[in-house]
């Protein structure tokens, strides 16, 4: 499939603890991942979040790493976005190099050897027949 002038949208329900991956949006220029984050009782005033600049996507459809191009609503390390309470929530998006247009499984990799606090989410299935088309 050629993505010229087309944008694919997947609704997904993948999460790692209190980080939720909600949507994947793909066009010929970029892959956008929309996330939601809910603070918990674990940290005082909800703690903080950021994203490492080396964050990338890996896909079953290619050996190439899809590097992060940009981010919206979140800062890159070493900066930090501090929450104010244990009930705060946050929506943010990460942009990566465009994925191949085919059925695949992708993984978000913030760290190769992650600890529980890193934003690594594995095995997100993206099937072409499950995608919506964005109306441009």
């Amino acid at each position: 499939m050629n993505l010229e002038d087309k944008t694919l949208v997947w609704h997904v329900d993948a999460h790692r603890f209190n980080l939720q991956l909600l949507r994947v949006i793909l066009n010929e220029r970029t892959t956008r991942l929309d996330f939601g984050y809910q603070t918990t009782d674990y940290y005082i005033r909800g703690g903080w979040i950021n994203i490492y600049p080396e964050t990338h996507l890996v896909t079953s459809a290619s050996t190439r790493k899809m590097h992060m191009q940009d981010q919206l609503g979140i800062v890159t390390a070493p900066d930090k976005f501090y929450f104010k309470s244990r009930a705060d929530w946050h929506f943010f998006s990460l942009f990566f190099a465009p994925l191949p247009v085919q059925d695949q499984t992708i993984s978000l990799v913030e760290f190769e050897n992650p600890d529980p606090t890193n934003f690594n989410i594995k095995d997100i299935e993206l099937r072409l027949d499950a995608a919506f088309f964005q109306r441009l």
């Binding site: 949208v9 939720q20 939601g36 929506f91 964005q134």
Partner: protein
């Protein structure tokens, strides 16, 4: 009766022909010719009816002083300065428009509202009557809450409701503290107590749902078959509820409240719903009957009055309010 679009067009042509009497003789033949030039096929009788209507006083006509000069066999305005194109606004008209402008400014702070406001300001500016824009304070003031989160999606949502375009967005539930991606076939954008909601068919829930605009993130239009709404259910959402989040029933039911003396006075002045019937008791307290779909907002309203207002029926609603109170104490 309002003047139809076609009749209005013909009236403008008649006005134009009469006003251009220096260039062309304003005859019935000339009026019909100009109509034809503008793609309107019209009979002699229709033009006569239009002229008759134009002569009527406003709002049924334009109060046009049209006379047929039998000697010259032409139409004329007895007041040579008269024209309906650029109708003078009376002081009353201008005042009504000004008041409407205030409301538009408050309620439609969107691109659509801007266009409407701009159009109305143009109308006002063509008025020969003086309109005092330099008032030092407005004489009509509505509540102007600070712009809320999500209001920026208003134009997109209105367009999707109007054209019939499904949307994808991320919704955050304040109560459950989780995010969910949603596909919505939107029908109506509705305001309730200064909060804005979009109502439509949610594919995920396979049901009609309302979503607060403040809890919506990144809506995008989808190239997807649009599921049209059931008009009855949409109207029910708009008319049969106090609020936007229904509890269990889908049809209006009688809800009976008991109000004390003071609350009875307020609720008599500001009814909760159009269906409200107040039966007063001897000492001023009352039984208030509503016929609506019970909502979360109705519960909140009743609770905001404390002991002064209570639900008496249906029993399940009484029970629900009692249990919600217990839950809150636990929290």
């Amino acid at each position: 009766m309002p003047i139809g679009k076609n009749a209005m067009l013909r009236c403008l042509i008649i006005d134009q022909v009469i006003s251009e009497h220096h260039s062309y003789k304003p005859t019935m033949k000339r009026i019909i010719e100009v109509c034809k030039e503008q793609g309107i096929d019209v009979s002699h009788e229709t033009i006569q009816k239009d002229i008759k209507m134009m002569k009527k006083d406003r709002p049924n006509g334009f109060g046009a002083p049209i006379k047929f000069d039998f000697q010259q066999q032409e139409y004329l305005y007895t007041d040579p300065n008269f024209t309906i194109n650029g109708v003078k606004l009376t002081r009353e008209d201008a005042s009504v428009l000004e008041e409407s402008l205030v409301l538009i400014k408050c309620m439609l702070r969107t691109e659509l509202g801007d266009k409407l406001r701009h159009a109305m300001e143009k109308v006002l500016s063509t008025s020969i009557e003086e309109v005092d824009f330099n008032e030092r304070y407005p004489i009509l003031k509505t509540m102007e809450p600070p712009r809320s989160r999500g209001y920026e999606f208003m134009d997109l949502l209105l367009e999707c409701c109007k054209v019939g375009i499904p949307i994808s967005f991320v919704h955050y539930s304040y109560k459950n503290e989780v995010f969910k991606p949603v596909v919505l076939h939107p029908y109506v954008v509705r305001e309730f107590e200064n909060r804005w909601y979009v109502f439509g068919y949610s594919a995920k829930h396979d049901a009609y749902r309302s979503f607060g605009l403040d809890r919506i993130y990144e809506p995008i239009k989808l190239d997807l078959h649009y599921k049209k709404g059931n008009t009855k259910q949409i109207l029910s959402f708009l008319n049969d509820m106090y609020g936007v989040f229904p509890l269990t029933t889908e049809e209006p039911i009688p809800v009976v409240l008991r109000a004390d003396r003071l609350t009875t006075k307020f609720l008599s002045a500001y009814p909760i719903h159009v269906s409200q019937v107040v039966e007063k008791y001897d000492f001023g307290s009352s039984k208030i009957t509503l016929n609506l779909i019970p909502t979360m907002e109705l519960i909140q309203l009743v609770r905001s009055y404390g002991q002064s207002l209570k639900v008496v029926e249906p029993k399940w609603l009484v029970e629900l309010i009692r249990n919600t109170r217990k839950d809150e104490f636990r929290r």
